[in-house]
């Protein structure tokens, strides 16, 4: 198993209920080449089951924090859109990601300013821990995911502005906002419907995630007013609604050998519809001229065929 051009961290995954001493040579993780150890959710538990020969309690019950229920609902809906009931990825050209990670802010560090999400301004300090993102997962898109639950039906549309600023810790540990970013969006909430709103923050977070930042600390202000700027000049009264802290959604392209690369299989199917897929070289493309046929050679082999 080779990583494609990435440098995988050699830290064994904390995911597995592996024996206390991770350096013991019975730790199944050490059987794996370095590129495979971290972040591949499925592999370590599979190895644990195989290494615990004969034991019945196979459950790899690694202590797990319970995920947020709304986040669960959203990810199950994403799963239904991306795969069939049997779990086969849908051949959707527009969907280039092969990994989507949803992080909820760590609860102890959410600081609300002003009203608790009531009235027109909702501002909160958020800290996301991105430890689970591996070095081989490259960011395609990142969004803040708000779920708007309006208790009373809101008859007319309303428009919101979201202002973000990333908080850097300088050498003395003092927090100072370094980069800020504003996004405006308008919402048309039907009566009594939950609405997911994805606020695209890709350009904003790209530099942080590209440098494999493990913790992202940001302040988010959302202001919502009744009315829609496209259709009316003056905006009305503030909207009263419950606004819970957003989740961070990362659409990633996992470049490791274990992940599914649809463009690989699409290209393969176009070229050799009938032949079994040959594993492409770890670098993904033949290196140097020995791997590539010259046009003359291609023509000659075509004539031979």
């Amino acid at each position: 198993p080779h990583s494609r051009g990435g440098v995988a961290s050699d830290k064994p995954s904390g995911f597995l209920g592996a024996p206390e001493d991770p350096t013991s040579d019975f730790n199944p993780l050490l059987w794996l080449p370095k590129g495979m150890r971290r972040g591949y959710a499925l592999l370590p538990p599979l190895l644990k089951v195989l290494s615990e020969r004969g034991q019945q309690n196979w459950g790899s019950d690694v202590p797990r924090l319970q995920p947020d229920s709304r986040a669960l609902r959203y990810m199950k809906r994403l799963y239904k859109m991306s795969a069939t009931k049997e779990g086969i990825p849908k051949d959707n050209r527009s969907h280039l990601y092969n990994t989507v990670r949803l992080f909820t802010p760590c609860s102890e560090c959410q600081h609300h300013h002003g009203g608790l999400g009531k009235g027109d301004v909702h501002s909160v300090d958020l800290l996301f821990n991105l430890d689970r993102v591996t070095a081989l997962e490259h960011l395609l898109k990142s969004v803040l995911l708000y779920s708007f639950d309006t208790s009373a039906p809101v008859s007319s549309p309303f428009s919101c502005t979201c202002h973000l600023s990333v908080k850097e810790h300088d050498s003395s540990g003092q927090v100072c906002p370094s980069v800020s970013h504003s996004v405006a969006f308008s919402l048309h909430l039907q009566v009594r419907k939950r609405k997911w709103v994805e606020i695209d923050v890709t350009s904003f977070l790209q530099p942080l995630i590209a440098t494999h930042r493990r913790n992202i600390h940001m302040a988010v202000n959302v202001t919502c007013l009744v009315g829609d700027p496209q259709h009316s000049t003056e905006l009305g009264q503030p909207v009263s609604m419950a606004l819970l802290p957003p989740s961070l959604l990362l659409y990633l392209n996992d470049t490791s050998e274990q992940a599914y690369h649809r463009w690989d299989s699409l290209r393969h199917r176009r070229k050799n519809p009938g032949r079994p897929r040959q594993r492409t070289s770890p670098l993904g493309v033949p290196t140097g001229d020995k791997g590539m046929e010259t046009p003359q050679a291609q023509r000659a082999s075509r004539q031979r065929r």
């Binding site: 499925l42 995920p67 779990g87 032949r275």
Partner: protein
């Protein structure tokens, strides 16, 4: 003809069975169905979807001349010849998967985050002799 004289008078049904063994050797290398649910492995606490998974598997004898039917390379026949003529410690060709399809999995990570991942080579879709 000799076999006909020796063979007992059989009904047409037995005859077709009798000849079938020459057309399709028994338990030939082919894809077999296997379906598991993650709750059997007690993994349903952290694997949220899919609920059932059919990895399939390959099983059966590889005929001596495993031709194009299996997409086997010529090497397979060479290996057979080595086993039969030169060195029986060299194993005969085995019935193994030749092609796979991917699987999408939704899991909960130890830190409570949720990940949707598409894994390569998780379901065997075709067998070969190698």
């Amino acid at each position: 003809d000799e076999t006909m004289k020796e063979a007992p008078a059989a009904s047409p049904q037995d005859l077709s069975q009798y000849f079938k063994q020459f057309l399709f050797p028994q338990n030939e290398c082919e894809l077999h169905n296997f379906r598991l649910s993650f709750s059997q492995l007690q993994w349903d606490k952290w694997i949220l979807a899919p609920h059932r998974y059919s990895p399939q598997y390959c099983k059966g004898d590889c005929p001596r001349v495993a031709g194009h039917r299996y997409g086997s390379p010529v090497h397979t026949m060479v290996q057979n010849i080595i086993y039969e003529k030169l060195d029986p410690s060299v194993p005969r060709p085995s019935c193994v998967p030749a092609e796979y399809s991917p699987l999408s999995v939704l899991t909960v990570e130890p830190d409570g985050s949720i990940v949707y991942k598409e894994y390569e080579d998780m379901i065997a879709t075709r067998c070969t002799c190698r």
